[in-house]
C-alpha cells in the first residue's frame, strides 16, 4: 500500500501523539479494513462496528508494531482477522439459532441462495444485473467456512500474497494455498447449484 519508511514514520508520529498522523492512517486503511469486515461478516452494520473496533485496537496497540517483523498492512490484517474470529465465535450461537429456523443450506439438496436470485425472465439492466450477481456471490461467500472465507477474501479480494496471508492467519503457506483452492471450489459449487436452480 505504502512505502515501509513512510508508514513507519506515520506510526512514530502517532505514538508521539500527532492526531493528524493518526487521521492519515485511518484515511488510508479504513476502506481496506471495512471491505474485509464486510465480506467476512456479511452486513454493513457489523462491518462498521468491526472496523471501528479494529481501529480502536490499533490505536491502543500501535506502539507494539515492529516494522522489522513485517509490513504494516500485514499487522493491520492480523488485527482485523483476530477480531473477525472473535466476532465469529461470539455470534456462533446466534447463527445456530437462526439456522434452525431456515433451510439447512450446507446440504447438497438445499437451496440456500435460490430465493435471493431475482426473476431472470425480466430483461435486467446491465448495472442492476451486475449488482445482483455481486450480491449473490457475496451471499455465497458467507456460506463458506470461516477458514476458507478469510483465505479467499485476503487472496482474491485484498490481493495479498501467500506469505502475508500465512503471517496474518498464522498457518503455513501450503495450508493457505490449500484453503484458497478449497474455498474457490466450494464457492463455485454453491453458485453453480444456485444458478442451476434458477435456470
Amino acid at each position: 500500500m505504502e512505502d515501509v519508511q513512510v508508514v513507519a514514520m506515520l506510526v512514530r508520529r502517532c505514538i508521539a501523539g500527532d492526531a493528524a498522523a493518526w487521521e492519515e492512517i485511518v484515511q488510508g486503511y479504513n476502506r481496506r479494513i471495512y471491505n474485509i469486515c464486510y465480506r467476512f461478516a456479511g452486513s454493513s452494520d457489523d462491518a462498521q462496528d468491526l472496523t471501528q473496533e479494529v481501529f480502536i485496537k490499533m490505536y491502543r496497540t500501535l506502539s507494539s508494531y515492529d516494522p522489522s517483523k513485517g509490513a504494516f498492512v500485514t499487522w493491520v490484517t492480523t488485527i482485523t482477522r483476530n477480531l473477525l474470529v472473535d466476532h465469529f465465535r461470539k455470534t456462533k450461537q446466534d447463527r445456530m439459532t437462526d439456522s434452525m429456523d431456515t433451510t439447512a443450506s450446507d446440504h447438497e439438496d438445499a437451496q440456500p441462495l435460490s430465493e435471493q436470485i431475482p426473476d431472470q425472465s425480466a430483461p435486467p439492466d446491465a448495472q442492476v444485473r451486475q449488482r445482483e450477481v455481486s450480491e449473490t456471490v457475496h451471499q455465497a461467500l458467507g456460506k463458506l467456512s470461516p477458514e476458507l472465507r478469510e483465505a479467499v477474501i485476503l487472496r482474491d479480494l485484498q490481493d495479498m500474497d501467500y506469505k502475508e496471508i500465512a503471517t496474518a492467519l498464522r498457518v503455513p503457506e501450503g495450508t493457505v494455498k490449500s484453503r484458497i483452492n478449497r474455498g474457490r471450489a466450494e464457492l463455485a459449487r454453491l453458485l453453480q447449484r444456485t444458478y442451476r436452480q434458477v435456470m
Partner: protein, 261 residues
C-alpha cells in the same frame, strides 16, 4: 484429498501447484505435468475447473464504499475528537472577537442553550414550586420579607431578638425544662451540706463583717430611730415583736440616702 498418482504427479502436489497454476506462475515441465494430471485425475480435474470458476466469481466482486460516517466515528472513538472538523476550524480565518463575544460564545450561549431545554425548565419550575410551598409552610410572607430593613442596627436588633426568641422557645420546651429540673435536683444532691447556724454564730465575732455592717448602717438611717438592719436580734426580741398584745410594734421605715453628685 486422495493421494493418488497420475502422470507422475500426486494429488497433494497438484493441490499445492493449483494456486500457482491459476496465478499463471507455473511454467515449463511443471505446467505440463500439472495439466496432464488434471486431464486424467477424476478428482483433480473438476477441482481445477471449480477453483478457476470460483476465482472468476470472486474477481467480479467490486470493492464496497465505506459509509461516510465511518472515519469521523473512528476518529471520535479513538482520539475523542473529530480531528478533521477540528483542522477545518483551525484552518479557517479567525475574525477578531472581543472579550464579551468570547464570554458569550464560551459561557453564555451554552448556558442559555441548557436553560432552554424543556427538562431544565421543568426542573426549575418544580424547584420554585417546592421552595414557595416550604416558605408558606414556614410562615414566611413575601411582604414581610420586602419590608425588612437592611440597616446594620436593624439587622443587629433582628439578630438579638431572634436569638432571644430561640432561647425562650428552647427553655420552654417541656423536655428541656424537665431535664434542667432533673439536673438541678442532681446537683443539689451531689453538693456538700450547707453550713449550719453554729457556723453563723462564729461569724458574729468575725471582724471581716465590720465594714459591711458599717455600710448597711449608713443605708439604714432614719430621722427618728436608728435601726441596725444587719444587727442580729435575740430570741427575746422576736417574742416581743411577735406578741400581738404589744402596742409598741416597731415600725421600720427605711429611707435611702441618695447622694447626688
Amino acid at each position: 484429498m486422495p493421494d493418488r498418482t497420475s502422470n507422475g504427479m500426486q494429488c497433494n502436489e497438484f493441490d499445492l501447484l493449483l494456486s500457482d497454476a491459476l496465478d499463471g506462475v507455473l511454467s515449463g515441465s511443471g505446467l505440463d505435468r500439472f495439466q496432464a494430471h488434471a486431464r486424467t485425475c477424476k478428482t483433480c480435474g473438476p477441482l481445477l475447473e471449480e477453483a478457476e470458476a470460483g476465482r472468476q466469481w470472486l474477481k467480479g466482486l467490486t470493492e464496497v464504499e465505506p459509509p461516510a460516517s465511518l472515519v469521523p466515528n473512528i476518529l471520535a472513538s479513538t482520539t475523542g475528537v473529530d480531528t478533521q472538523r477540528l483542522r477545518t476550524t483551525v484552518r479557517a480565518p479567525q475574525p477578531r472577537v472581543s472579550w464579551w463575544e468570547h464570554v458569550q460564545a464560551s459561557f453564555l450561549e451554552p448556558t442559555w442553550a441548557l436553560v432552554r431545554q424543556p427538562r431544565f425548565a421543568m426542573s426549575f419550575g418544580m424547584a420554585f414550586f417546592a421552595l414557595s410551598v416550604s416558605l408558606t409552610m414556614a410562615g414566611v410572607n413575601i411582604h414581610d420579607v420586602m419590608s425588612i430593613s437592611l440597616r446594620p442596627s436593624a439587622i443587629r436588633h433582628a439578630y438579638y431578638s431572634t436569638q432571644a426568641k430561640v432561647v425562650r422557645y428552647v427553655d420552654n420546651v417541656r423536655a428541656v425544662y424537665t431535664m434542667q429540673a432533673a439536673l438541678r435536683e442532681i446537683k443539689r444532691n451531689m453538693s456538700p451540706a450547707e453550713p449550719g447556724p453554729a457556723k453563723q454564730k462564729e461569724h458574729k465575732n468575725d471582724t471581716t463583717q465590720q465594714p459591711e455592717q458599717k455600710q448597711e448602717r449608713n443605708y439604714s438611717q432614719t430621722g427618728e430611730k436608728l435601726i441596725l438592719a444587719g444587727t442580729p436580734v435575740g430570741p427575746s426580741d422576736f417574742d416581743r415583736i411577735l406578741d400581738p398584745s404589744n402596742p409598741d410594734l416597731p415600725v421600720v421605715s427605711v429611707t435611702t440616702d441618695r447622694r447626688f453628685v
